[in-house]
C-alpha cells in the first residue's frame, strides 16, 4: 500500500471577504514530487502556508506526515521544511553561518559538520565564508534550499523555487529537486512554469479559482483531453496547452 505524506480535504480559506480557497482536495504520496500549478494569485502560496503551519485554515482536514496541522503543528514542523518565494537567507551572515544557525535551531549534534556537508553538496564551499549579500541570485537560491535540507526533513515545500532565476540556475534547481526525490524526500512544489511541472512532477494538480480543477500524472492529464486535434497535430500536447485549455484561456499568460 502506498503511504500518504500530505492529505488535504475540503480546505477553505478566506482573507476577509475574499475567498481564496473554496474547496481544495489533494493527496501527495510519500517520496513523490507533487506540483501545484496555477496562475499568479490562484492561491498556491496560501496552500503552502497552510500546509507548513504558517496560516490557519478556515475549515477542512489537513494532515502532513500523519499529523493534523491545526492540532499538532509542532509535530508537522518537525517533519517539514519550507523554502518560500523569496530566498529567506540572512544576508549579513555568511553561507556557513546561515547553515550552522539553522542546524542549531534543529538541535543537531554537529552543526559545523552538517554545514560543511551541505556547502559541498550545493557547490558553495568556496563562497562559504562570504556574506550571503554578495551571492548571485542562483547561489542565494542554492543556499536557501540547502538551509531547508538541514536536519533531513521528510517533506520539503518549495514555493516557486525558480521564479526570478536565470535558465541555468533553474536547471540547477531542477537537478537538486530530482536528487532529493531520488533520496526518498517528498517534495511539494508550486510553480507557474508549466515546463517545470512537466520536467519534475510525478503528479500535477491545477489550482484555479480556489479549487483543484484537474489532477493526476502528466499522461493522465493528457488523456483527460479529447483527441480532437489528433488529425493535424503530430507532436504531443504540451502541458502548457492542456493547462490553458482547462482553465479556459486561449492566450498565453
Amino acid at each position: 500500500m502506498k503511504e500518504i505524506a500530505i492529505q488535504v480535504k475540503a480546505l477553505q480559506k478566506s482573507y476577509k471577504q475574499h475567498q481564496v480557497l473554496k474547496d481544495v482536495n489533494l493527496e501527495v504520496e510519500k517520496g513523490s514530487i507533487f506540483a501545484l500549478l496555477g496562475s499568479n494569485g490562484a492561491g498556491k502560496t496560501t496552500v503552502v502556508k497552510i500546509l507548513s503551519t504558517l496560516l490557519q485554515p478556515d475549515s477542512g482536514s489537513i494532515t502532513v506526515n500523519g499529523f493534523d496541522v491545526t492540532l499538532s503543528p509542532d509535530h508537522v514542523r518537525q517533519a517539514i521544511s519550507l523554502t518560500g518565494q523569496f530566498a529567506a537567507v540572512d544576508e549579513i551572515l555568511t553561507g556557513r553561518e546561515n547553515l550552522i544557525m539553522i542546524a542549531k535551531l534543529r538541535y543537531l549534534q554537529n552543526p559545523r559538520q552538517v554545514a560543511d556537508d551541505l556547502l559541498r553538496r550545493f557547490g558553495l564551499t568556496e563562497a562559504a565564508d562570504r556574506k550571503a549579500s554578495t551571492y548571485s541570485g542562483g547561489m542565494r537560491r542554492r543556499l536557501d534550499i540547502a538551509l531547508s535540507l538541514v536536519g533531513k526533513p521528510q517533506i520539503v515545500f518549495l514555493d516557486e523555487p525558480t521564479t526570478g532565476l536565470d535558465p541555468e540556475a533553474r536547471i540547477e534547481v531542477w537537478k537538486m529537486v530530482k536528487e532529493l526525490a531520488a533520496g526518498g524526500t517528498t517534495i511539494f512544489l508550486t510553480t507557474q512554469y508549466l515546463e517545470e511541472a512537466e520536467q519534475l512532477a510525478d503528479r500535477i494538480a491545477i489550482l484555479h479559482e480556489g479549487r483543484i480543477i484537474a489532477g493526476g500524472t502528466l499522461s493522465e492529464l493528457k488523456k483527460l483531453f479529447p483527441q480532437a486535434k489528433v488529425e493535424y497535430v503530430e507532436k504531443q500536447l504540451s502541458l502548457e496547452e492542456i493547462f490553458l485549455a482547462i482553465i479556459g484561456k486561449k492566450e498565453a499568460i
Binding site: K49, S52, T53, L54, L55, S72, D74, H75, R77, Q78, I80, S81, L82, G84, Q85, F86, A87, A88, V89, D90, E91, I92, L93, E97, M101, I102, K104, L105, R106, Y107, K131, L147, F157
Partner: protein, 255 residues
C-alpha cells in the same frame, strides 16, 4: 499525545548570537547611535551651557541622564528596522515553519537591543567622564541607574517591535522614533522646567522623561530622590507592559 520539546533558551541563544553578529558587522549602527548624543552633549556643554542656569555647578552632570535617554530613543529604530527586514525577507516565516519557540525570535531582537544599548551607553559615559562628569555615588545607586536604563530600553524596544512588525515600509518602521527623540527636549533634561511657560511646563513635568531624568540625576549625584524613582519605574513598566501586549498581538497576526 507526546508533545514536542521546546528549547526556549537555546533557541534564544541562537537568535541572540545572530543579531549580535548583525550589530558587530554593522558597527556603524552603534557609532551612529553614539555620535548624535555625544555631539549634543558637546554642543550643550561648550556652546549653550554657559548661558543655562541649572543651579548645579557642573552642567555635564546635569545633562548626562537626558543624553543617555536620547541615545536609547534613537537606537531602538534599528530594532524596528531589523524586525521589519526579517519579516519582509521571509526569515521569520522560515523560523516559524521550524519546531522552535516562536517568541524566542522576537526576544532575540529585544535582548540584542538591550546589549547594544549597554555598549553605547558605556561609550557615552566615557566621553562624559572626559568632559568632566563626576559622580560621588557608590555601586548600589549605579546599579539602580543601570536598572532604570535597562527598563527604559525594554519599554521603548517593545514600542519599536510594534512599529517594525506592523510597518509597510522601511521608512515607516523607523520614523516612529523621531517624536521619542524629541521628548527629552521638552523635559528637565537640558534646562529646569521652572523657566518654561505654564502649558509647556505642565507637559514637561508630567511626561515620563522628566521623572526618569530626575531619578537618574539624583542617583548619580547621591541626592534624595523623593517620588521620582517610583514615578519613573511606573512609567517604564507601564509602557513596557502595554507595548509588549500590542507587539505580541502584531506578531501573532503576522503568523
Amino acid at each position: 499525545m507526546e508533545t514536542v520539546k521546546k528549547h526556549f533558551f537555546s533557541d534564544l541563544a541562537v537568535m541572540l548570537g545572530r543579531s549580535m553578529r548583525h550589530i558587530s558587522r554593522s558597527m556603524d549602527t552603534i557609532i551612529t547611535v553614539c555620535i548624535t548624543p555625544i555631539a549634543m552633549m558637546l554642543l550643550f556643554v561648550y556652546v549653550f551651557g554657559g548661558a543655562i542656569q541649572t543651579g548645579s555647578d557642573n552642567y555635564v552632570n546635569y545633562l548626562l541622564p537626558g543624553i543617555l535617554l536620547i541615545a536609547i530613543a534613537s537606537s531602538i529604530s534599528y530594532t524596528a528596522y531589523r524586525l521589519f527586514l526579517d519579516k519582509q525577507r521571509g526569515i521569520i516565516e522560515r523560523f516559524h515553519s521550524m519546531p522552535i519557540s516562536r517568541s524566542a525570535v522576537l526576544w532575540g531582537h529585544v535582548i540584542t537591543s538591550v546589549v547594544s544599548n549597554i555598549i553605547s551607553i558605556i561609550v557615552i559615559i566615557l566621553v562624559a567622564l572626559m568632559m568632566g562628569f563626576r559622580s560621588s555615588s557608590g555601586v548600589l545607586p549605579w546599579l539602580a541607574v543601570a536598572g532604570i536604563l535597562v527598563l527604559f530600553t525594554l519599554a521603548l524596544t517593545w514600542v519599536a517591535a510594534i512599529a517594525g512588525l506592523s510597518a509597510k515600509s522601511v521608512e515607516g518602521a523607523s520614523a516612529f522614533s523621531y517624536p521619542l527623540i524629541f521628548l527629552p527636549f521638552i523635559s528637565s533634561a537640558f534646562v529646569p522646567t521652572n523657566s518654561m511657560p505654564t502649558v509647556v511646563r505642565v507637559f514637561a513635568e508630567n511626561q515620563p522623561v522628566t521623572s526618569i531624568v530626575e531619578a537618574i540625576r539624583a542617583l548619580m549625584s547621591g541626592q534624595p530622590m523623593g517620588n521620582d524613582i517610583w514615578v519613573a519605574l511606573a512609567w517604564c513598566i507601564g509602557i513596557m507592559l502595554v507595548a509588549y501586549v500590542f507587539a505580541m498581538k502584531a506578531y501573532k497576526k503576522r503568523i
